[in-house]
Amino acid sequence: MSLVGTIERINGSLVLAKFDGEPKMGDLIEVGNLKLMGEIVRLSGETAYVQCYEVTSGLRPGEPVVDTGHPLVAELGPGIMSTIVDGVQRSETELWNLTGPFVSRGTNIVPLNREKVWPFEAKVETGDKVVGGDIIGTVQETESFEHRVMIPPDQSGTIKSIKSGDFTVEDVVGELETADGVVPLKMMQTWPVRMGRPTNERLPLEQPLMTGQRVIDTFFPCAKGGAAAIPGGFGTGKTVTLQQIAKWSDADVIILIGCGERGNEMADVVAHFPELEDPRSGRRLIQRTVIIANVSNMPVSAREASIYMGVTLGEYYRDMGYDVAIMADSTSRWAEALRDISGRLEEIPAEAGFPAYLSDRIAQIYERAGRVVTLGGGRRIGSVTLLGAVSPPGGDFSEPVTTHTLRYIGTFWALDTELAYRRHFPAINWLRSFTRYMDVASRWWSQFDPGWEDIRARALRLLEEASEIEETARIIGEKALPDEQRLVLLMAEMLREGFLVQNAFHEVDTYCEAEKQAALLKVLIDFYNEVEPLIRQGVPIERIREMGVVNDLLRLKENPGTDPIDEARGLLKVQADEVAEEYEVTER
C-alpha cells in the first residue's frame, strides 16, 4: 500500500508535503495532479521535502502526492545501448514521439521498452549453481555489443530452469531456486542510482585509456578505471575534448552525460555519432554509446540525478566485464543543482553558496570509478573510468568545485584560455596538467619503444625550458638570446605545432594511433639531437630554420601511418649532414 499525502507549499522545484504515514528519505514521489516525478530530500517532523524533477508551474497546495515506496532506480537490461535518455532514464526519442518536440510534464514512460523482443541465448544449464553477478545468458543488443544478462547482485541459488529464445525484458527466461524459494529470472533488473553496485575486489590499475589524442595519451594519460577532470573557462574546448575521447577511446562502452549543457551540442552528438566508425572494430560508434541529455533548461533536480544515473549504467556494464568510460559534462552544473536544492532547504552554505557536503558528494561520485573483479565466478574484470568536465566561474581554478574535484582524481587536464585564443586545440596546458598514472602508462608504452619514457621526459623538459626562456625573451627580445636557447624555443614550437596541436575536424589528425604518436614524438626529439650539436658548434639558428625538413616535421601528423615519419627521418639525416659540411662541423 503506497503512502499518500497533500502538497503544503511550493517553492520552485522544492515541494513540501504531508503524508499520512512515514515516508522514507530518497523515496520517489508522484507530485500533484500531473504526477510529476520527485524525490524526498529531507524529512522534518511531519513535513517531507520533495525535490521535483519537472517544472512545478501550476501546482497548488492541497494537490495529492503519492509515495511510490522505492528510491530512484535505473532499469537495467537490453534496450539501453544507443539510446538518448533524460536524467531519470526516460527515452527522449520516445517522449518526442509521444508528446511532440517540446518536453511535456508528467509523461511517465518506463525506461526499458516492454514490448521489444530480444534474442536471449542461455549460457547456464538447469542444475548449475549460480551467485549474484553470474552470467546466465547473452543478447546481441547491437551489432557490436553483446549484452550479458546477470543474476542480480543479491540473489544466488540453483538454476531450476532456463531457456533460450525471443523474450521481452519482463518475460521469464528461467527460474532460480534460492534459500527463500523459487524466483523468476528476467532480463531486466533495477538498481538504486545513488548506491554503488557491489563488486568482489578492487584491483590496481594496469592499462591507460587510449584516446587517440596525443597530448592526452602521451603526456597526461588516464588509466582504465581511473578518474580525470578537465576544467576550463568557456570556449576552451571541454566539450570537444570529451567528445573526442568519447569517439576514439578504446573503452568498450561509452556513457556521455550532458548535464546542464547545451541542447544544440547534444543534437550534434546524436546527429554525428551514428556516422562515425570505430577505428579498431570498424563498427558504428553509436552502437556502444549511451547518451544522457539533461540540458541546461531542463529542471535542475533531474540534472542532479543524471550523473548518478550515468554512473549506475556504467557500473552495470562494468559488471558484465567491460571497460566503460563515462564523460560527465559538466560536473559544475551538477554541483549548482546541489546548491540550488540546498539553498531552497535553507541549509547554511559553506563556500560560494555551496553546501558543506559538496566535497563528500564529489568524492562519492569519483570513487565509483575503478577497476574491479566483478561479482560472480570466473574472476571477470571490468572497469569504470570517469571523466568530468568542470566549468569554473570566470575560469578561476581556485573555486570550490575545481579544488574539491582535484582531491579525488588522478589526471588533471588544465585548459588554458590563452591557448584557446590562438586556436591551439586541445588547449591542454602542459605545465599545469598532471597525471598520477604515469607508471601504468609507461609500462604500456614501452611495447613500442623501450626508450619511450626518456623521450617523453625529454620533450616535457624542452617545453618547460622553453617557457622559462620565453620569460626572458619577453624582456630582452628573442633576437638577443643565444642560439642554444633559440633552438629550445624552436623545438618547443615544433612540439606544439607538430605534436600537441591536434585538429579534431581534420580527417586524419582527429585520431592518432599509439604507434604513430610514439614515432612522431621520437622523430621530433631526433631532430633536436641532430641539430643541437650543430648549433653548439656555431651553426646559426636561421640556417636550421631553413632546413626543409622542419616544415615536413610539422606536417607529419596530417599523413596517415608511420611511413612518412621514417622518410622524414632519412631526410633529416641528409640535411643535417649538408649543414655540417657547409659549416665544417666535425664533432657530432
Binding site: 517540446f102 568557456f234 546542464g260 541542447g263 551540442e265 540540458v295 533548461n297 535542475v300 638577443a480
Partner: protein, 465 residues
C-alpha cells in the same frame, strides 16, 4: 495582456518589500500563477507567484511598488502568464509586459502561449548547420553564425554593439537563398535613443514590417524585465515553429535583465553567490537562451543574438561568464580596438562560434574556410604577442619573423576586421582579403592550412595556375 476578469481577489497583503508582496489568507493559489495587482489609483500591474503555501503566497510584482499600500487589490488569475499569438503580431510594437505602444489595439487570439515556453526535447533538435552571411568579415570569416545558433555580443557601454547588431539584422542572408529573417527585438532597460535607433534602422531597410518589438526602456519598471525576454522568445518560437519563419532575435541588454533577477533574489533574502547574483542565474539564463534552435521536421528557426554589457569590460563578470557557458560562442567587442578607430571593434581572439564547423566548408562556403580561419587566429595571436614585445624591446629587438607577425596584425585589424557599417562583404570577398593578408607571411608559417589549399588559393600560386 488579455486575462479575463476572473480569479480569486484578496486585499490581504501583509508586507511589501521592494518588488515582493506577501499575501495572507489565500486559498487555491498555484505556483507561478499570474497575479494582477490594482493600485489605489485603479491602475493595474502584473506579477507572479514565487512561493505558495496553503494560506500565504509570495508575489513578485513586475511594476513599480512605490506608492502601493497594504490595501491594494490582488487578483490571482489561476493561469500562468500567457500571451496571444497570431500572424498579426508582425510589425507591432509592445511594452516590456506586452501592452501595445503603437496606438493599435491589443492583439486578439485564442491561441495563448505560456511565456515560459517549453523545453525543446534534445532528441528532437536539428543540428544548426546553415551558414548565415552577415557581410561582416570578422564574423563570417572567423566566427561564422548559423541558423538556430545563439551567439551573444559581449560589449561595454559606449561601444558600437547597436550599430553592429543593426548591421547584422540588415545584412544577414543565407547565400543563394532569397529568404529574409523576421526580427524579434526585445529591449530590457535600454535608453530611448537606442530603441529609436533600432526602430529607424529597421524602418530604413523595410525590416520593420517583418519585426516585432518588445520594449522595456530605462525608465520602465525594472522588474518587468523578468518577462520581457520571455515574451520575445515566445513570439519568436511561434513565428519559427508554427509559421515556419526564420527568426533573428535580438535581446539587449541582458545585464539589465540579470540585475532585475538579482533585485528579486535579494528581496527574497536568498543566499547570494558572486556579486550578489543568485545561484540559479545560470539555469535561469538557460531558460531564455536555450529556446533558440531548430526542430527536426519544422521549417523555421530561432537564431538568438543577445547583447550584454560587461561591467568595467570584465569578461569574468557573472553575466557574460554564465552566458558564455550557455551560448554557442560569443563576439567580443573591445574598447582598445574602438579607440584605434576600428569598426566593428571586435577582437576575434576571445570571440568564438562553436557551431561554425557545421556551417562552413566546401558545400556551404569554401573548402579552405576552416583552415584559413585557424591560421588567421594563430597569426593574429602571434602578432599581438609581438606587439607586446615591441613595448619592451622596441621594433629593433624583434626578429625578422616577429616583425612579419607584427605587420600582419596591423594590417589584419585595418583591412580584415575594419569595415564600413554599410559594407556588405560576401564570404568570397572575406576569404580573398584573408589570403591577401596571409601572403605577407612566409609560406612555411601557414602551418594550419593544408598544403593542397595553399597550392590552390595562395595568391602566389593562384597566379601560377
Amino acid at each position: 495582456m488579455t486575462v479575463e476578469q476572473a480569479g480569486l481577489i484578496y486585499k490581504t497583503t501583509s508586507e511589501i518589500r521592494g518588488p515582493i508582496l506577501m499575501v495572507e489568507g489565500i486559498r487555491g493559489v498555484s505556483y507561478d500563477e499570474l497575479v494582477r495587482i490594482r493600485r489605489p489609483t485603479g491602475e493595474e500591474v502584473t506579477g507572479s507567484v514565487l512561493d505558495v503555501s496553503r494560506d500565504w503566497a509570495m508575489v513578485q510584482c513586475f511594476g513599480d511598488t512605490s506608492g502601493m499600500d497594504l490595501n491594494i487589490t490582488i487578483r490571482f488569475t489561476g493561469e500562468t502568464l500567457k500571451i496571444p499569438m497570431s500572424p498579426e503580431l508582425i510589425g507591432r510594437v509592445f511594452s516590456g509586459s506586452f501592452e501595445p505602444l503603437d496606438g493599435m489595439p491589443r492583439p486578439l487570439s485564442t491561441d495563448l502561449r505560456d511565456v515560459n515556453g517549453g523545453t525543446i526535447n534534445p532528441a528532437a533538435r536539428d543540428v544548426p548547420s546553415e551558414f548565415i552571411q552577415t557581410g561582416i568579415s570578422a564574423i563570417d570569416g572567423m566566427n561564422s553564425l548559423v541558423r538556430g545558433q545563439k551567439l551573444p555580443i559581449f560589449s561595454e557601454s559606449g561601444l558600437s554593439h547597436n550599430m553592429m547588431a543593426a548591421q547584422i539584422a540588415r545584412q544577414a542572408t543565407i547565400p543563394g537563398s532569397e529568404e529574409d529573417f523576421a526580427i524579434v527585438f526585445g529591449a530590457m532597460g535600454i535608453k530611448h535613443e537606442e530603441a529609436a535607433y533600432f526602430r529607424e534602422e529597421f524602418e530604413k531597410t523595410g525590416a520593420l514590417s517583418k519585426s516585432v518589438m518588445i520594449l522595456n526602456l530605462a525608465d520602465d519598471p525594472p522588474i518587468e524585465r523578468i518577462v520581457t525576454p520571455r515574451i520575445a522568445q515566445t513570439i519568436a518560437e511561434y513565428l519559427a515553429f508554427d509559421l515556419g519563419m526564420h527568426v533573428l532575435v535580438i535581446l539587449t541588454d541582458m545585464t539589465n535583465y540579470a540585475e532585475a533577477l538579482r533585485a528579486i533574489s535579494i528581496a527574497r533574502e536568498e543566499i547570494p553567490t558572486r556579486k550578489g547574483y543568485p545561484g540559479y542565474l545560470y539555469s535561469d539564463l538557460a531558460t531564455i537562451y536555450e529556446r533558440a534552435g531548430r526542430i527536426t521536421g519544422r521549417s523555421g528557426s530561432v537564431t538568438l543574438m543577445p547583447i550584454l554589457s560587461m561591467p568595467a569590460g570584465d569578461i569574468t563578470h557573472p553575466v557574460p561568464d554564465l552566458t558564455g557557458y550557455i551560448t554557442e560562442g560569443q563576439l567580443l567587442l573591445q574598447r582598445e580596438l574602438s579607440l584605434r578607430g576600428i569598426y566593428p571593434p571586435m577582437n576575434p581572439l576571445p570571440s568564438l562560434s562553436r557551431l561554425m564547423k557545421d556551417g562552413i566548408g566546401a558545400e556551404t562556403t569554401r573548402e579552405d574556410h576552416s583552415d584559413v580561419s585557424n591560421q588567421l587566429y594563430m597569426a593574429y595571436a602571434e602578432g599581438t604577442r609581438a606587439r607586446g614585445l615591441v613595448r619592451i624591446v622596441g621594433v629593433v629587438g624583434l626578429s625578422e619573423r616577429e616583425r612579419t607577425w607584427l605587420e600582419f596584425a596591423d594590417r589584419f585589424e585595418n583591412e580584415f576586421v575594419k569595415q564600413g557599417p554599410y559594407e556588405n562583404r560576401s564570404i568570397e570577398q572575406t576569404l580573398e582579403i584573408a589570403w591577401d593578408l596571409l601572403s605577407i607571411l612566409p609560406e612555411e608559417d601557414l602551418i594550419r592550412i593544408r598544403e593542397t589549399y595553399i597550392n590552390k588559393y595562395h595568391p602566389a600560386h593562384k597566379s601560377e595556375s
